[in-house]
Symmetry: C2
């Protein structure tokens, strides 16, 4: 990391879910209040706010804070598709590391029930989207290729959902709190072969917030700090010709930079929150994050390595598959979970003795090829 040390000192979120009658302020304000309260500060001590969202419209951060009487200072609204919230976090930690400010509020929020339903509303100017390459279709192609290349079957995908739902059942903030069996995943309705319904994250609404401080300010505050050891934001590379659809280049590159920034390796992680928008996504990201060699990911799930109680639990929160995926809120929700894990506040889903955790979001366009954005954060107690 360049510059001053930065700490997460507070977090809040609402239970993700479907709140068709809620406004953006309704979704975000409870999370903001909880984050500030848990940091042990007053609202006026926030120097600047960074609000990540994709679909809130003009001045979403301002509208959220106005209702709390928090006005006057800089508010920056950041959009980066699924990385919007984590992108806002990246800007916030940079502003503190540089010495510009002492205390920042990061908000992540989005409301997908404002749309007609179905998959994420993508930009039809993209020729891929215009050709039908919406997210479930794209990940289904990746899944087909992966199963073919490495000799796995649909149950190897389905087990990711079983793990996610088991964790989500322990998380009061999760959209889905009911465990599912392998048989129930298999029996859920087909979406894009080999993915069926329970292998796709739900759409929904949510709000999450974290408070960041400089080390000096954190020490004075009395809040429990968790340290930002790496914060990386990249956009995807343009690629032509035959691509390896099972290698998410943007995550590979971002992970490499994040480990280098933090001065650690994948073996040092006690847990990770990764962008499991679909079961296959989680498996591909194991490999991109160097948790295993290519072609090995399904074995980590089958052997319980990434389950709660395993060597490196992945998505102890339930992940996008169980906790939900309200786009802008997702990355900040992961950071809230990581903060709580690293301060031992996760109750039944606590990763015992967690000292170092990683959060990862990526998305947009062909999900990180060509364009899109990826954000990886490494936090340490």
């Amino acid at each position: 990391m360049n510059g001053r040390h930065v700490a997460v000192v507070g977090a809040g979120m609402i239970r993700f879910g479907k709140y068709p009658d809620a406004s953006y302020p309704d979704l975000a304000q409870p999370a903001v209040v909880d984050a500030i309260r848990s940091a042990g500060i007053e609202p006026h001590e926030i120097d600047a706010t960074f609000c990540g969202h994709s679909f809130g419209g003009m001045l979403t951060g301002q509208r959220i804070l106005k209702g709390l009487g928090m006005t006057g200072e800089a508010i920056v609204n950041v959009e980066n598709a699924c990385s919007s919230g984590a992108g806002a976090f990246h800007q916030a930690q940079a502003a503190i590391a540089s010495g510009e400010i002492e205390t920042a509020l990061v908000i992540g929020v989005d409301k997908l029930t404002q749309f007609a339903g179905g998959t994420l509303p993508l930009n039809v100017e993209d020729h891929e989207v215009a050709s039908g390459m919406v997210m479930p279709a794209l990940y289904a192609m990746r899944a087909q290729r992966y199963l073919h290349d490495y000799g796995y079957d649909a149950d190897d995908l389905a087990r990711v959902s079983v793990k996610a739902r088991a964790n989500g059942a322990l998380n009061p903030f999760a959209q889905f709190r009911k465990p599912v069996t392998l048989e129930e995943v298999r029996a859920s309705r087909p979406i894009a072969e080999p993915l069926n319904l329970f292998q796709c994250c739900p759409t929904g609404d949510g709000g999450a917030a974290v408070v960041l401080m400089s080390a000096e300010r954190a020490r004075r505050s009395g809040a429990t700090p968790v340290w930002v050891r790496a914060s990386v934001l990249h956009s995807g590379r343009y690629m032509t010709g035959f691509r390896d659809f099972t290698l998410p280049e943007i995550t590979v590159r971002s992970a490499k930079d994040a480990y280098e920034q933090a001065g650690i390796g994948p073996d040092d992680l006690d847990f990770a929150e990764v962008h499991d928008a679909f079961t296959i996504a989680e498996l591909l990201y194991y490999e991109a994050l160097q948790l295993c060699e290519r072609g090995e990911a399904p074995r980590l799930v089958a052997d319980g390595v990434t389950a709660l109680g395993g060597r490196v639990p992945v998505n102890p929160s339930g992940g996008l598959l169980a906790k939900g995926h309200p786009i802008g809120a997702t990355g900040v929700g992961q950071l809230a979970e990581a903060y709580w894990q690293l301060t031992g506040r996760c109750g039944d889903r606590q990763v015992a003795g967690a000292r170092i955790g990683l959060t990862h979001v990526t998305g947009g366009g062909i999900a990180g090829f060509d364009h899109g954005a990826c954000a990886i954060t490494i936090l340490a107690a």
Copy 2:
């Protein structure tokens, strides 16, 4: 200014106007190419891009750069209503000042012809908007109050348009290039009394870009640097009770901070580009920017003080009234104009001997009360 010195080293923009068939990449790419070329660098030398827009949808910056083969690094999309482009500039200069990066690209872009026409699409969750307080109505109320309080009449407003159009006629990038007479302004159709059509900025589409560098990098590049002496971004304060509608608090506060940051006063300015979305707006901002005392602004226009050739030309580009106001593009367009003025490249609209210039944008909600955002930049040759 905190941190390292930051320079603007290149600028580009398209002529603002109505381009209903253009995509966001179509509007922004020519500006990006010109800005990078004028900085004398190659596209791959950009470390990070900050894209300001309000209505482009997900990953607008990524879509713009993908078409230019500029992919891979961080792209941050920033939304702050009329301050979106200048807000992106603020993030970019902070990233360089902090030592995080050496070279940044700032894009401002928006396309208003995608909407049905009329005034800016505002969020109807705002109770003011729901009550009919759209921008022309709001500024008309301010104008009524101002004329009443200080004893001016409609011609004092109209003269601002005559000045703007005279300057715009000299600017190849302006949406309106035809001068208008006082009589023509008076005769244009009523919009919201006392404002008539020629006193309201047009809607339209546009793209603009600037390249920023650290001082060290700028010296090596050979480009002509213009120095960022102040960059201030604030949101509006929540105010209750009877307000003074003719005092734009957010601009007053931002200007004070900007002069302090730059270590100069309003008398040191050789020109300013201010947010004249309506004639009355320019007058109120003269006072908020301390170019004159309260109640004095119309005299500056009547006496030619702010005309080209006057003591402190305001909006030599033609301003929003003549150059146009494609929201996200506006602030970056101002910065491009300031860069060109300070490097003597403005042809017929050149402010002779310009050494220090200020750019100002503000907007959102009740235009900077309550919420919204304001960005002020001071640049020096």
